[in-house]
Symmetry: C2
DNA sequence: CGATGTCATTTTGTTGACAATTTTCCGGTA
DNA sequence: TACCGGAAAATTGTCAACAAAATGACATCG
């Protein structure tokens, strides 16, 4: 019954991280130390370390003397993350083509199938997580831990970006896109896979509201109005 | 006179990081907490945070209950880092071509010139740092903070890899290669720049002793000798 | 009515003492 | 000499009390 044991720190990290990625914790939400201590029965020192870890993975922002908050990506950051993703996923697909096997293909298929079922029963949270898992699994197939680490960071940040700038409505098409990529991998058609991945990412980014005006400006608005 | 002030934590981080990158601290060196406390006049808590930060940037390895050591990259890790670098630097060059200006070109030229002078006076440490700065500066020209962050990590790790698997002798050719890349950028010749960068990285990796046998085995050696 | 300043409360940051673990040293034994 | 224990020293990990800062409530003033 050791809730406050040793390895549990990693577990708490995963729990909070997943909650943010699945958008149960919205951008800007404050993560008070005392609150987390009570929820997870950890000491403040442990909670503090977890928060540092989360900030390092870019899903939490640490404001000195102010506390920890779920990160609120800027428009610029959003563009940069997606630009980096296009470059990184291209490299990953290129390498995955050479290393994909029947077994790894089936892992990808299983993820997409789970995603399809999640969407069918309206479980949006699970679908978000599974869509990310697809891209992560692809990185693992590429067989380079460094690239996988980068991919992990970018996939997490993408989810946060979509939570911030995405529209809640609209059809979900990850399943179809991912299916297409699997097919291209199956035939070891590198060019097709790259193009489909590129199109997939462009499609996702295109659905974001990245007009510089929209996003975030409660204090800026007052400054602007004071001039009128 | 506040050596133990607030912002000094970042300064100590940079100091140790630089010492590792310049190979004054060799891979495997133990970084004892007490020792660092005395050297920098910091509390243990502060030193501890710096060590966590360094481990997060992959130049220090934290072994639980054992302490902090300058990281010793494995052969596999070395290959992965260089593979990732080839992909990342290609993306960076591609974007830098579109954004390079006279001013940023001059920054690159200044770095290479400093590097040339450092080599001329036999200052190998400075040369190592400056070679890394060139690649970092290139990433900054590309204008994407995410890519720059990844590049920073990879450049640091590369230096550690060269310290571990590189040969001390041999001619240094970064200055020539970097000069060529600058020229290609000047003429906005993306293809030439990419090829030169690729060749540069392949050349560096090719000079490493990445035979799986060679690398690391002080305990293994004893085991081998016991058979003779 | 809004703005400003002060004080109590809450939250975050730091330190030093204590606990747990590892490393080192040393004597005993075959 | 080589090889085990086992205590002592050194090192790392943890926590709880204390200090510092931010937040919110409230009174005062324009």
């Amino acid at each position: 019954m050791n809730e406050g044991g040793k390895g549990s720190e990693r577990a708490i990290f995963e729990e909070i991280h997943t909650a943010i990625i699945e958008r149960r914790l919205q951008p800007g939400t404050k993560l008070g130390e005392e609150a987390l201590c009570e929820i997870y029965e950890l000491s403040r020192g442990q909670v503090r370390r977890v928060l540092v870890e989360l900030s390092h993975s870019k899903v939490v922002e640490l404001r000195p003397n102010r506390g920890a908050y779920v990160a609120q990506p800027s428009v610029r950051e959003a563009r940069n993350v997606f630009e980096a993703r296009r470059a990184l996923e291209a490299a990953i697909v290129e390498r995955a083509i050479d290393r994909v096997t029947t077994s790894t293909l089936n892992r990808l298929r299983a993820i997409v199938e789970e995603d399809r079922q999640a969407l069918a029963r309206g479980d949006r949270e699970a679908s978000i997580k599974l869509s990310g898992d697809f891209h992560l699994c692809l990185a693992e197939i590429a067989g380079n831990d460094v690239l996988t680490g980068f991919q992990r960071e970018l996939v997490s940040r993408s989810s946060l970006i979509i939570a911030t700038f995405g529209e809640a409505d609209g059809p979900e098409c990850s399943v179809e896109h991912h299916g297409g990529i699997i097919e291209a991998l199956e035939f070891r058609d590198g060019r097709a896979a790259s193009c489909l991945m590129e199109a997939h990412l462009v499609h996702i980014e295109g659905r974001l509201r990245l007009d510089v005006d929209a996003g975030k400006s409660p204090p800026d608005l007052k400054a602007i109005l004071s001039r009128g």
